[in-house]
Amino acid sequence: MAVNHEVAASVKLTRTDRLAARIWKSRLDYAFLIPGLLVFGAFIFWPMIASFYYSALNWTGFGENAEFVGLANYRELLQDEFFYAAFRRSFAFMLATVPLQMILGLILAIVLNNKLLRLSTLFRAMIFLPVVSPVAVIAIVMVLMLSPFNGPINGFLLDAHLVDRAVDFLGSPQIALWTLAGIFVWKWTGITLIYWLAALQTVPAELYEAAKLDDVKTRQVIWHIVLPMIAPFAVVIGLISAIAALNVFPLIQATTQGGPFFSTEVMEVYIFRTAFAPASGQFPRLGYASAAGVLFGLSIMVLTIFQAIAVRRTRRKEAEDV
């Protein structure tokens, strides 16, 4: 037995040695990683860990009056109807935007993937322009465009007699969230388009040619050849879009700040409000907001796990198809 232990120890030793040697051999690579790791640690990893800790505090976020309360914040959250409403809105927003964005992106991608289409690069650039424009700029422009007083969109709708009186797109609680969903889709369809275009590149040109020789109509080619071949990508693109659709804080903060009457208060806006900008007369509650953040983060993590599984399946399927 003793011998075995020694052998095991020596094996372990050589293994560690080898690892150390390998790290030392690649020391320059590791050195280059350090700045990135520091930034990642300071701005992503540390806040994530810290928010778990904060979520157990009753703390304004200022001063040293933090009080450890255990799971009290979580218990309170589960009674908070604003929390539930925000949670629901976040996922409703996601369910409204993702399918729209994906179908729109797919249609545009199929059209723009046609090499014979003149100016397709120009169209691609145009559709991609909102993606690269800052959210704040888009928000300001959209607020002006959609204004019920002198916005050109209402001007058009009134002139065309499509509505009797100006629609307050961002100011009426019934439609504000859906207006924002529309703006969001308009801004981000370009990126979905790029994903789909990438997926379409996996369909070899010869397949279109073979279909052409077989007198298969374009619509049949899309339905019977292209869509089945790119379907595996839908899962990945869908999940990427879904996670992106839960990430709408800048757009909402720059347009409605969660209003009117909390009708656009999605999870992130709720967290922001409780943490930093409560109604007058209330104290900010960083601990409580952290708890909400943790719950929301965990639910996104579940989505991400689905995504990881789906990506792996797609890869495996692709590997089999080759």
């Binding site: 070899p204 010869e206 040619e209 020789l213 007198d215 298969v216 019977h224 071949m229 089999e320 198809d321």
Partner: protein, 360 residues
Amino acid sequence: MSGVTLRNVKKNFGSVEVIRDVDITIEEGEFCVFVGPSGCGKSTLLRMIAGLEETTSGTIEIGGRIVNDLNPSQRGTAMVFQTYALYPHMTVERNMGFGLLMNGVSKSLVKEKVAKAARILQIEKLLDRKPKQLSGGQRQRVAIGRAIVRDPEVFLFDEPLSNLDAELRVATRLEIAKLHSQLRGATMVYVTHDQVEAMTLADKIVVLRDGRVEQVGAPMDLYNNPANVFVAGFIGSPKMNFVDVNHGQLPDGRVLRLDGPNAASVATIGFRSDSLKPADQGNGMISAKVSVVERLGDAEYVHFQTPWEQELVARFPPEAEVGLDATFEFELSGKIHFFDANGRALANVMLASGAVAKPV
């Protein structure tokens, strides 16, 4: 009535002329091979016949109809792609029948046609598989099957064997030859860069270079009577030997006596590996030193270097046991080819017997 005729066919990609004034006539039922080095335009020409590339000018006729403005599907052609172009998510059966099904042909008729093609190609057992479950050779058969099912007047093959390994390539080559005799009357146009494929399969070979037709003819025609240095060098394996001469004088000063009215224009003489016969020391036309020996079993190809550092190859019997660095004297016998300064073949030239003079 389903031959293919190309008249003054040209193709430009932007300002680049890739096909220059090509005239080719392919008879009905003929197996015609377009051969040439990469970039010669052979695939482009095939794709123009298929209708996958537009023709810049000139006319393409299939079965007596001008098809320039017809869609690919209306031309009566079927194409087998180098990459097979099978639909990866469909079974073999559906791959073969897909085109017909999409065009409203009844399911039972499609099934019948697919079964018939599968029988011809002996892939009946593979009908339920997907392409990824097939070997390269099997995929190739399915691709050919998809063409057969369409019942085309003209089969177009775009380098169909180049993705197969050497052994399978030889086997599939034979299959395609058999298929041609089986599908009597079907015109086949076949593109390859491999002159062995061209020689073994073709009724007619079209040798292309830089978008031009260099020569058209039956395989042995091209082998025996190449029209120019390019064709002479391209057809036949190993490559033909070429030696530059100036009024019969070789670079080392020996003089070959050439007879005939065109003898004075000869700038290059060409001869195949089996035309080099060892001669007694001092009596040869060419002397050369062994540099590499390739043993193929049934023959030895011995590569030589001449005193003026040119490579020549000679065929020796298998038991020859030629040693490296040995020096040989050769005389030329059999078919000798003569070319002028522009590389064109010259007729009416002969090598006079006992035709060598010592260096002056």
